[in-house]
Symmetry: C2
Subunit: 199 residues, 2 copies
């Protein structure tokens, strides 16, 4: 069976992509081989390059191929605001959706003692150093509203309090366009508990 090997190897290698099962891996492999060899060669080249060169920003831990990412090295960004998120995808989402112009800090995870993930593993020692050294007026905690995300947010809040920095948490509740009938019970309960006075 040494003959089918290279195609089979390619199909197996495609399975490292998230959400790609055997059928999709086969379709992707055959598509590249039959219809888009140039695109495939480009992908192979860029992927190799990206994996070799993209590392962590030394200040905010986001993914970048430079020592500092383009947000951290941009002097026009508001230096007194810091938004703390769990993943690089969260940074992209916030950049696309909001008009936030401050800096970020990417945890790359969340506190999870059961999985052995402590404060140092998600860079909270580095964050603490930033709290001490940087001219921060507001820290926005945008971790996910899960048990671990909330625990992480609480930990960061305690950390910021020690440096007298104002902390805010992004709002959680019923999404815009959502219908109460179909919202999960936890979100609805939270939305009731966090109701805002109307002027």
């Amino acid at each position: 069976m040494s003959d089918a090997d290279l195609l089979q190897q390619l199909m197996d290698a495609m399975r490292c992509l998230p959400g790609v099962g055997p059928k999709t891996a086969q379709r992707m492999s055959l598509h590249l081989l039959e219809r888009d060899r140039q695109g495939g060669e480009h992908l192979s080249r860029v992927l190799k390059d990206a994996l070799a060169r993209i590392g962590r920003c030394e200040w905010c831990r986001n993914l970048t191929e430079h020592p500092r990412c383009n947000i951290c090295s941009n002097a026009n960004r508001e230096q007194s605001q810091l938004c703390i998120v769990e993943t690089p995808a969260d940074v992209l989402a916030i950049e696309q959706a909001t008009s936030y112009r401050g800096r970020y800090f990417v945890l790359l995870g969340r506190l999870s003692p059961l999985d052995g993930i402590g404060p140092e593993d998600i860079g909270l020692d580095q964050l603490s150093a930033h709290f001490a050294a940087e001219p921060l007026a507001e820290v926005i905690v945008a971790t996910n509203p899960t048990v671990e995300g909330e625990a992480t947010a609480y930990y960061i809040q305690q950390l910021a309090a020690r440096h007298q920095i104002k902390v805010s948490r992004i709002a959680h509740g019923v999404p815009l366009g959502g219908e109460l009938e179909y919202i999960d019970a936890g979100t609805l309960a939270h939305a009731f508990g966090s109701r805002q006075p109307v002027e």
Copy 2:
């Protein structure tokens, strides 16, 4: 924006994969960078290798990294049977699902005069040479039951008739487990027209 470039380039490059839009490309890129760099490097290497080395089998036109694919070079396959399919994916599907042990011929397309695809473009001249030279007892035409697929099947049938080779077409009709109520009208009409006598 030179800083986001490499990650952005990777996301763009991922879009050459079929069914991958901007969101999925982002998820795949970040997954590889954050969680599976080894898998990504392996994919990049195998993809480059596969694109450089996988070509066409000189006999059956299937994808292979050798001059002849492992089915054509396997002396244990039935030499008198030839199954004609449109794509390499069809070969994989038939190999997995059936007990067919003959050889294949892969058209890599179908007759489509409107798109400028004539007999030579799908290797029918090569197939005609096989009809003349090979000891074929049966040709099984397994092109898709589309207008172009049927036209291609008809053309092959005429070609085989000139060499006095028996031609058969795979059965089309209601799929096993299908319910008549939900079958499209064309398939149902075909199934009625092609009804088989029962002993």
